[in-house]
Symmetry: C2
Subunit: 114 residues, 2 copies
DNA sequence: CACAATTCCTACTTTTTGGTAACTATGTCA
DNA sequence: TGACATAGTTACCAAAAAGTAGGAATTGTG
């Protein structure tokens, strides 16, 4: 115990979690994982996230793309088409996230009491 | 896909994750899990979290206690002694969190590039 | 009596995050 | 011509989170 450097242990995992621990990222990842085709367009997601503003969805997707969890593909058409999907890294995260969601469902009542 | 209600799916899990997805909670849980005795005092934790202010540690512990993830026991001594430990619910969360931490360690370089 | 140790709390300020609304570009359809 | 659709961006504002600095309570010790 005495030889644990908290800074060392805390920082890496915090940096990782901060990539998808915000208000909307998890939902985006979850929706992309759920999609039949593995692909979703901007406004398609918007329809599932009615209380998320355009700005926040855009920002969230940009962050996830920068973290290499989501792949963004632009088709040079008019009107523009942009397709989002999970990267390999993003897919590898899903089992862990789904386990977390399962835990959440199971223990919701114990944890969220107010 | 078409029958997923985003509000329904998003809210519960977000509420759960918000209980330990903040800046310090994960570290507290991790430290308590790591402790030999399963118990840590306030200033003991402080020594491992040098960049966390007193206020934030206090606040974090209060939140974790309210979420029934951490147990707080006060001993009526002078100077006061307060011991923190994981609850049963808290302990049940640890395997999931450790898996997340493992994923984080493995994929850190892919995700954190800036 | 002053001080130290322990576990906080409170007021104040700064930083980060999120929301609203308006704007852009471009080609299609009526 | 002008409204529509898509995938955003930008400016501005409000709210929430976090940091700083100081105080409070208790009581045994020098």
């Amino acid at each position: 115990m005495a030889d644990i450097k908290a800074e060392y242990l805390a920082c890496p995992i915090r940096q990782v979690i901060s990539r998808f621990g915000d208000k909307w990222s998890l939902l985006v990842l979850f929706l992309l994982n759920r999609s039949d085709t593995g692909v979703l367009r901007f406004n398609e997601m918007r329809r599932f996230m009615t209380d998320c503003s355009q700005k926040m969805l855009s920002q969230t997707l940009k962050n996830l793309e920068q973290s290499h969890l989501v792949h963004r593909e632009v088709f040079p058409e008019v009107p523009p088409r942009v397709e989002y999907s999970l990267t390999e890294t993003g897919r590898s995260l899903m089992p862990v996230l789904l386990a977390l969601i399962e835990w959440g469902k199971e223990h919701f009542d114990e944890v969220v009491t107010d």
